[in-house]
């Protein structure tokens, strides 16, 4: 039965389902959690890293790049941060696509791409793989945290089928159900970035498998508007900045944790 309807992405099952898409989404629900919260003056993203260990070389993450350690959170454009859950290799290809789509928009219109339009661009690509034969869909869900002149701060989510939607707070990856119900309880309209940061970290600490949070398991980013230039300012935290933030939020790991990377 299943052999007949899931060997190709482009074939509907008799119940009218596309199994490959559902499998892709299933793969994502085992991936590291990515969580986003929209505030009135910013957007916050946090992600759980799965690839850890004391032999992993993270020297590149300490300096250079845009911050982050290059597993879950990426700068897509000067006004958009993306958090990915799913197959990392697929995600890399989508990030490349997003960055060049954003730059092409800048070239054509001399204006930063609108957040929704960037999500649409990626969804057009993702949708293509649910329809044209021979290829596997992207096993990636993305959270887009962005700012543009029309709708100000925004948070979008896109899945492997090419669906996307806007959110006030949402979560993808492992334990996303738990996180979402937590967010539903805790979220209030008109929260500011500071409250959103606490909310994100608190929710993360409750959903993640490990009992204590630390920079070797967490990536973190905030998008705000620079009060001086009025331009969006994307900040992806470096490992030492994450530890400092966790400490100030009272969520830092105790010294008994053996996972010291330095």
């Amino acid at each position: 039965m299943s052999r007949r309807y899931d060997s190709r992405t482009t074939i509907f099952s008799p119940e009218g389902r596309l199994y490959q898409i559902e499998y892709a989404m299933e793969a994502i629900s085992h991936a590291g959690t990515v969580l986003g919260v929209l505030a009135k003056d910013g957007v916050v993203l946090a992600a759980e890293k799965k690839v850890t260990g004391k032999l992993l070389d993270l020297s590149g993450a300490k300096e250079g790049g845009y911050g982050g350690s290059g597993e879950k959170i990426y700068l897509l454009n000067s006004n958009v941060i993306g958090g990915v859950a799913g197959l990392t290799a697929d995600a890399n290809s989508l990030i490349n696509y997003a960055r060049s789509a954003a730059q092409q928009h800048l070239l054509q219109y001399n204006e930063d791409i609108h957040v929704e339009l960037l999500a649409q661009r990626l969804c057009d690509l993702k949708q293509g793989y649910t329809q044209y034969g021979g290829l596997r869909p992207f096993g990636v869900s993305i959270l887009y945290a962005g700012y543009d002149s029309h709708y100000k701060f925004q948070l979008y989510h896109s899945d492997p089928s090419g669906n996307y939607s806007g959110w006030k707070a949402t979560c993808i990856g492992a334990n996303n159900g738990t996180a979402q119900s937590l967010l539903k309880q805790e979220y209030k309209d008109d929260i500011d970035v500071k409250t959103a940061i606490s909310l994100v970290l608190k929710t993360m600490s409750k959903t993640m498998d490990s009992t204590t949070l630390g920079s070797e398991k967490l990536e973190f980013a905030v998008l705000t508007v620079d009060p001086e230039t009025k331009q969006p300012k994307a900040k992806i935290y470096r490992p030492d900045e994450i530890d400092k933030l966790l400490e100030s939020e009272g969520l830092a790991k105790k010294d008994d944790d053996a996972m010291k990377t330095s």
């Binding site: 790049g65 960055r99 730059q103």
Partner: protein, 208 residues
């Protein structure tokens, strides 16, 4: 009438002591008719590279957008800022792509480049409209007032000028050269790039 003189405009860059300066006029004209007195020809490429684009105004905008695109793509792929030498070669190859139907622009590049020891040293360069690079140790000029700029700069420039003195030198060079050129003028924009900051000033000059 040459197409290089259609809109008018000039740019100059100078080396100082641990700093560089780049200046341009602000005129946009249609031959002898002035259209705008606020047409920027110098654009920031990174925090410590500035690019001057004198020549045909349509290509000023086109190249400005094209270089921003290529530098941004470089930055996201490399995850670091481009170095002035690398950028100069990007400019050169971008212009040479159009060897037989060129952009009518003679770019000037000014920036501070990293030394192997970890410090910063001044860098200036200019190319012709098909991308032939000219790395200079003192100053480079381009645009409709280039011949006048050469003369004044030759007289005023001296080695190892401090940022404020370099600002004065490049400003006087520019203001006096464009006064003798009908196609340049209508204000001057000056940027002095030092190790830790960029000083940008707009000068009024003769507005006639």
């Amino acid at each position: 009438m040459s197409i290089m003189e259609y809109n008018g405009g000039s740019v100059i860059a100078m080396v100082g002591k641990d700093c560089v300066a780049i200046a341009s006029d602000l005129r946009l004209g249609n031959q002898a008719l002035g259209v705008s007195s606020n047409f920027q020809k110098i654009f920031p490429v990174t925090d410590r590279i500035y690019l001057g684009l004198p020549g045909l105004a349509t290509d000023v905008t086109t190249l400005r957008e094209l270089f921003r695109y290529r530098v941004n793509m470089y930055t996201v792929k490399e995850e670091r800022d481009i170095e002035p030498e690398t950028f100069a070669h990007l400019v050169s190859s971008t212009l040479y792509e159009r060897r037989f139907g060129p952009f009518f622009i003679e770019p000037v590049i000014a920036g501070m480049s990293k030394t192997p020891a970890g410090g910063l040293k001044p860098f200036i360069a200019a190319t012709d409209l098909i991308g032939c690079l000219n790395f200079a140790k003192d100053f480079v000029v381009a645009g409709t007032a280039s011949s006048k700029l050469f003369g004044v700069a030759e007289g005023l420039w001296e080695p190892d000028l401090e940022p404020e003195d370099l600002f004065e030198t490049i400003s006087q060079t520019m203001l006096n050269a464009v006064d003798r050129d009908a196609y340049s003028g209508w204000g001057v924009m000056v940027h002095v790039i030092t190790k830790d900051k960029v000083i940008s000033r707009t000068l009024k000059g003769r507005m006639d």
